[in-house]
Assembly symmetry: C2
Amino acid sequence: MSLLVTGTIGIDDIVTPTGHAEAVLGGSCMYFSAAASFFGAVRLVAVVGEDFPPAFKEVFAAFPTVDTRGLEIRKGGKTFRWGGKYLAGMNSRETLFTELGVVGEKPPVVPTVFSDSSCLFLANMPPAVQLGLLEQAPSRKLTVADTMDLWINVAKADLLVLLRRVDGLVLNYDEAELLTGCGNTVTAGRHILEMGPRFVVIKKGEHGCLLVHRDGMCALPAYPTEKVVDPTGCGDTFAGGMMGSIAAAQGAKDMGSFGSIRRALVHGTVVASFTIEAFSLDRLRTLTWAEIEARYDEYASMVRV
Amino acid sequence: MSLLVTGTIGIDDIVTPTGHAEAVLGGSCMYFSAAASFFGAVRLVAVVGEDFPPAFKEVFAAFPTVDTRGLEIRKGGKTFRWGGKYLAGMNSRETLFTELGVVGEKPPVVPTVFSDSSCLFLANMPPAVQLGLLEQAPSRKLTVADTMDLWINVAKADLLVLLRRVDGLVLNYDEAELLTGCGNTVTAGRHILEMGPRFVVIKKGEHGCLLVHRDGMCALPAYPTEKVVDPTGCGDTFAGGMMGSIAAAQGAKDMGSFGSIRRALVHGTVVASFTIEAFSLDRLRTLTWAEIEARYDEYASMVRV
């Protein structure tokens, strides 16, 4: 199945308790694509500014199955920039600055060559933009969206419209509570299903994830690790591994089934566990399929009941 | 293998966002014994006061494999009492009052008929008391202790002595950080192994648990549930299910191995998931082995990779 992702590509400044990285490649779409690329081809649709550093194109070379024909380099535009600082324990962060640049302007367009995509991931963007992009993939069989607290607070009406049109939603633990008013994660998940999607994946960071699906429920722990260098992009690579796995392994009939999503969550968990081992996409750039397989087996043996 | 537990039995007043219970049976030893009793015989060693309500003896009748010959009803003594209030979301609580009564006086004594016990669980008590009780089980093959933030703060030297003498430690997430100064749970677990035990089980409440064992590591999610009436005793029944499973299933050779603990954690997780469905021991009193098996199978299928 052909996988398409839309979202942001940006330049990040990151400060952690043990280090920092300046002007590194980031953005939801970038992390997602890199992660999904291990499972097969992934079509990227995003917009950056004219200032997008040429050196970053070398990063794309590390992920040859990412199809960048949907990457618009907008003349006169400025690339999205974000700065974040992680607090002790790496479990919370504060945003130091956000410069929307081209992300605050006209959204990217899905190229005609991508319009036959069957599997669609709408990474975190304003829900109205996500809706517009969804319309440009008329052959979609499975559509999954991410969102964030900002849109729940300022664009909830648009988000509710979007939720009626997607098959799945991926969001954080606290965002699920904000969206539904339910402190119990399972209850929050069930409420989200009533809003439209047939499944929701609730991410809990170091505590793993919960899948609430119309046909069942599944909880998985994160891969327990001591090597936490930079959590940026962890959620996006989790989603990338998950969607890459779904698109690669499943026929259209099984796609989106409880079993297919559950299997895919393990791939998401494993790929995300590598992302946090280095700043930006540094770990993913050197990651091999053999390493993914080895950690998959290790993880499987850890959770085996 | 014969399982012995020492700890507190008390009278609890509990307030939750949706209800309250007054003067109900509680205490670590009580919850532990009830949970462990589903897996086989469990020897209980605890002390209560002369005011211990006779009606509570009916509760013991619901758990016929609990051997209460080690329950001392101390003349002139007052039973331990605790009052707690759970905050919205049930993830945190405040202590309303603590009346130590007999728990603050002379500790209970292990009866001679119990001195051949091979499997020992020291539920949460002052570490010096736990050490004294440990001495009274000279045939012990596997000793596991619980502790809490209070003892880490006020009796750390005693606790460190205890840790050199036990095979395993069970404690909460935040307590592991307090004990070791490590915010990363895996790192905290490894530090605890350096203090003596060959395994540590770090409980994360609704987020499950992490086992750090000299021979491996394992993470398990909690059973995802919407029915959270009263979390009191959840950690103690988790430990009871775990130890009951170890004592019932394992020969002395395998006891305490990575594989045996991992299997036991699932039993602990499953039994704990029932405890929270009602106040006090109400749910455990009506729980059947068939219900445990059915939820075990459901849980196993949820986490299966």
